[in-house]
Amino acid sequence: MKSILIIGLVSLLGFAGAAHGGVTILPETISLKGAEGRQTLLVQETEGEVFTGAVDGVKWLSSDSAVAEVIDGVVIAKGDGKATLTAESEKGRATREVTVTGHGGEFAWSFNRHVLPILTRQGCNMGACHGAVAGKGEFRLSLRGYDPPGDFYTMTRQAKGRRIEMGAPARSLLLTKPTMATPHKGGKRLDVESREYRILSQWIAAGAVAPDGAEPAIARIEVSPDLSVLKKGDRQRLLVTAVYEDGSTLDVTDWAKFASADETIALVDEDGGVEIIGNGEGAVSALYSSKVALARFRSPFPNRIPDDVFSKAPRANFIDELVLAQLEELQLMPSGRSSDEDFIRRAFLDTIGTLPTLEETTAFLSDERPDKRAKLIDSLFEREAFVDYWAYRWSDVFLVNGQILRPDAVKAYYEWVRAGVAANLPWDEMARQVVTAKGESLENGETNFYAVHQDPETMAENVSQAFLSLSIGCAKCHDHPLEKWTNDQYYAFANIFSRVRAKGWGGDARNGDGVRTLYVEPRGDLMQPRTGKPQAPAPLDGDVIDPASPEDRREALADWLTDPENPFFARSITNRVWAAYFGRGLVDPVDDLRASNPASNEPLLDALSAHLVENEFDLKTLMRTILTSETYQRSSEVLSENRDDTKYYSRYYPRRLMAEVLHDAITDVTATPAVFDKVALNDGSFQETKFYEEGTRALELYDSAVKSYFLKTFGRNERQITCECERSSQPSMIQVLHLANGDTLNEKLARKDGVIDGMLKAGMSDGQMVENAYLKTLSRRPNEREAGELVAMMKGLNPEERRLAMEDLFWGLMTSREFLFQH
């Protein structure tokens, strides 16, 4: 948080025109190893902790040219020792220390450090070429080099050793093919004059030395500059430095793979050249040897907002501090506070999935206590509907699905979820119960998590998706192409579940009565297919679990998972809750929490996650903090200075109500109960169910397979995989046609003894009926224009027509965006 404040301060100074900057040399650590050590340098302007663009026309000086020299912006190792580099420019002067080691010693190109990265960068081992499962032209490499020993064997031993000619490197197929000296279907990939060619040929000439197990492993990569403030149209070069466990560094810019997290803000080319094309906060990820690092870019919107807008903006808690800090950096104007009418509707719908009744609305509007919003929020948490709503949402995450599970199992599973919400079980405890679930499936409903997908690989993927929002599926076949997860880590993780068994599993999950008893075998392992041996079990990047121990490996997994130090667990659930309240996760999409997909406001997600950990994973506390923030209570009104904001929360973003909430809102307003009596099976047939008595609300359904045209059309989550993406809030023409012509709304409005008959019986005037209808549907009173026009349309009608006009009035209200949307 401290750095944010500093950055905020700096940008203030920046706008005041104060010259508070300097210049600096990047990268910050330069520790060259061996005779070939070299590193490209950048000279950047700085303001505080951020970089503000590259400096041209630099003159370089080295304090000791026997140690290092700079030629064309590249520092080259000359001998062991330390030297200080100085960059002189019109913008100022900067220095940076360089260390050179191992220069005099024997130097050899390393297979892991140099040879393989070259093949990766030239695209030799990509999926379309030799990285394909079947290879190409009988030459098969591991995809993007995830299996160095295997690749070394393929290159040096297969094809009768013709790929490598140590006596005459230039005749090696490894060099003649990519240079097109011999025909190569993949085209020309390497120039004979290039440094890459020289490295490969020297490596071959030196005896094609095998990957050395004792070689220091890569510890991390660094991208510089890591945070830049730039304008639309600016360009910036990136450097990627690998840092090894012995502290040495290697310039791997040429061999890294770059990707932009948001191509509406920044574009990046394959050499790490970035172009800023939009406004907001963008990020570019660099991937090298299964390590990921991010360079962030801030491009303020072209507004000039007076400083006191931010200093005077109300703050309820740290959310507001952090959101306002970012809005100020990005020059976005916060919208004003929502009206009481908007707030009560919004808080109800987001917290309990239910519209406030007419009585609740009018009581709140006339309440004059200054803390009435906080009181309202507290009261919502105590309601039964709170339990229904969140049990439903978490059932999406846990895949409570009657197409996969038997009815009684579905019920038991759901009841476990609901009991957890009702008892306000901390999220880490929910997670622990699911992950370590054991016993009989109707008694211990949570065991059904494992009945949904019964193989260790899918169990691992589902745990990862549900609790870490990480999609690790790619790593099943090869190292993850965008992430740090390796193929070995995948199998280590999946091996945790290799001993999970249940009596009665296998076959069609829908056969039988759904009674299964889950137990854990004391032995057994999952093979890593690449090696044909079990991978020692470990939770993703956690510690290895003793493979010989007969203990349930999932206990160690649960410890790792719910450890407050686990960077993903708290972030994942925090982001899910945030997304439920704002319609958009800080990380978007919510099921894609990978390092290369940063949050729109990272400090905020960090602070919220820390807040959740401090409060021992109590979700209600997190929700209360969100609901009471001024950020949540902001109006959805658009200002000209925040029109283009879609993810920094300068205003509340309207969104369509979720399918079930909309369904229940229509049922509540019309005072007509719904009937759910069939469950859709996989083969398209339906089965009767007696679980749901008349009047059951959509949010009370156990199961996403209950037949409902309305819910399907409005995009409920079908719960086949853990993904919010399974839920659609997108309006479609079919939805509109259904509202306009379909039976849901029309039948309910025409129904005897529904809302309209109630009003007619009460003998209300046209004006009273209009006001009542507004309060029931939109949680506000009509304005003068609306009341006038609508009452005029109902004037002079006979009783029969008056009733129809009332139906039409409700239809008009309930097909309006103000009704269909949360705002």
């Binding site: 990509m126 999926g127 379309a128 499962v133 079947a134 990707a259 997290a261 948001d262 191509e263 509406t264 803000i265 094309i277 939009g278 999609s471 599926g473 109006s635 959805s636 009104e637 658009v638 029109r643 973003y653 309207p654 369509r656 996989n682 083969d683 045209y709 059309t713 079908e718 086949q720 995989i721 997108q730 309006p731 479609s732 023409m733 079919i734 509109v736 046609l737 259904h738 306009a740 012509n741 029309n746 939109l778 304005n783 224009r785 609306e786 609508l790 349309m793 039409d808 009035l809 239809w811 008009g812 209200l813 097909t815 309006s816 965006r817 103000e818 009704f819 269909l820 949307f821 705002h823």
Partner: protein, 459 residues
């Protein structure tokens, strides 16, 4: 080429005006629909492309086995050539599998590209997006379906939606990726109209297309006027894409509801039984027939999803083990259904004189492994597969490209997804240099640089 940037009527800024226009229009007519070309005012003009051309994209979901269907390898070892034999066709250039006998009889009307391949993951949804949009989604940018591009660049012909998906959008593919059947960065207003019903069902109708019977015009009018009163008091909605879109859908829905032509287009009961039976009384057949009716009535682009998901349902996904399907199921159920429907469509379009103007593109997410797997099926294989093209100026009876002796890789003239989409655009008469307003208003070419139509296909 960049003229959209100078217009104030693009999707990025045009809709602000539309609501007010709509209100004006609503006040004019008895039920507000007296200006039939209402929407065209806010469409871009002049339209791009050839107004006479249309496209039916048949998406063969699951990934048909090219080696068992269109690119047989009778001389390969048995674990590659599989159980089926090739048969002669009306074309001198190619044979097809014995499980596609009706294809053989219309082989003079379609051509094959046997050297399609892509470098996306061998996952269904990855192939769906790459084959329908011509690109893989990166950096959060979702590129539009070819039909969405057509719908964006060409004005609607009438009240029917310009881009329709039958019978509904693709379901789950297992890879958790967007399926490419959407408007992508062009905005949701270019999303297809998805039918959400099975036209082979006896009681088939477009769900909720018509208001309840007892509603007269004056009642509909009152509903709309009342809705307008309410919907005028909105804040912030014009900046929400979803909210804008809902508004547009209301306009479109009202036009659709009240258009005789639109209703007739969806009414399969107007077809003689003999025609319906020729297509096959199943979902695939009736969707193909409906696609012809829709194109005839003015829809510009129809995508027929032959199947909807690969899990526990029929599809082309012949892994040979559950929940997928077996080679036997393909032979007995899937191939005959497709054979009948596809041949019926080509014959029907031909007999009606529509074939020259309607491109029929048969594509899939990938082909299948040359080697038969231990379960007796074949697995995913994007490295080489076959696509078919007919009509819309395409010569029939030809083969473009060639696969290697086991159908593993293209041996001649490799064709990529971008080229397939470029071929569709070429047939619709688009200049491939046309740019779309991409993310951040950045000009985005309709196909990536270097992608070319497969010109040999065209007469």
């Amino acid at each position: 080429m960049f003229d959209f940037l100078n217009e104030d009527s693009g999707p990025l800024c045009g809709s602000k005006r539309s609501r007010r226009e709509f209100l004006t229009v609503g006040a004019l007519g008895p039920i507000g629909l007296s200006l039939p070309q209402f929407l065209s005012a806010k469409q871009r003009s002049p339209m791009k492309g050839d107004d006479t051309k249309s496209c039916i994209m048949i998406f063969n979901l699951g990934g048909p086995s090219h080696i068992d269907l269109w690119d047989m390898k009778p001389d390969a070892p048995s674990e590659i050539r599989g159980p089926f034999k090739p048969i002669r066709t009306k074309s001198n250039a190619f044979e097809v599998s014995e499980i596609l006998p009706m294809h053989a009889k219309v082989a003079d009307k379609f051509s094959l590209i046997r050297s399609c391949h892509h470098d996306g993951a061998a996952v269904h949804d990855a192939g769906w997006q790459i084959m329908q949009t011509g690109r893989r989604f990166t950096g959060g940018v979702e590129t539009p379906h070819a039909g969405a591009v057509a719908s964006y660049l060409m004005n609607p012909r009438n009240d029917l939606p310009p881009f329709v998906v039958l019978p509904e959008l693709m379901g789950r593919g297992g890879g958790n990726l967007p399926n490419g059947q959407a408007g992508g960065f062009l905005g949701k207003s270019q999303d297809p109209f998805s039918l959400m019903a099975d036209p082979s069902k006896p009681d088939f109708k477009v769900p909720d297309l018509l208001p309840p019977d007892q509603f007269g015009a004056s009642r509909l009018d009152r509903r709309r006027r009342m809705r307008d009163v309410v919907d005028q008091t909105v804040k912030g909605f014009e900046e929400s894409e979803d909210a804008r879109l809902l508004d547009e859908h209301f306009h479109s829905a009202f036009r659709l509801m009240t258009s005789e032509k639109a209703r007739a287009a969806f009414d399969l009961s107007q077809e003689p039984d003999s025609v319906r039976e020729r297509y096959g009384m199943n979902r695939v057949g009736q969707c193909m027939l409906l696609s012809r009716r829709l194109i005839e009535s003015g829809v510009r682009f129809v995508t027929v999803n032959t199947f909807l998901t690969v899990f526990n349902e029929l599809s082309w996904d012949i892994h040979g083990s559950k929940p997928f399907i077996s080679v036997k199921q393909m032979q007995e159920l899937v191939a005959p259904m497709y054979d009948q429907a596809y041949s019926a469509l080509l014959e029907d379009l031909h007999q009606r004189g529509m074939l020259d103007d309607v491109l029929v593109a048969g594509v899939s997410e990938f082909g299948r492994t040359p080697k038969i797997n231990p379960a007796g099926g074949r697995d995913h294989w994007p490295q080489c597969f076959t696509c078919s093209f007919a009509g819309g100026g395409v010569k029939g009876g030809e083969v473009v490209g060639k696969s290697d002796p086991i159908g593993g890789f293209p041996a001649e003239r490799p064709v990529e997804p971008g080229d397939i989409v470029a071929t569709i655009f070429h047939a619709l008469g688009f200049d491939l240099e046309t740019h779309l307003p991409g993310p951040s208003g950045r000009p985005f070419p309709i196909v990536d640089f270097g992608k070319e139509p497969v010109r040999e296909l065209f007469a």
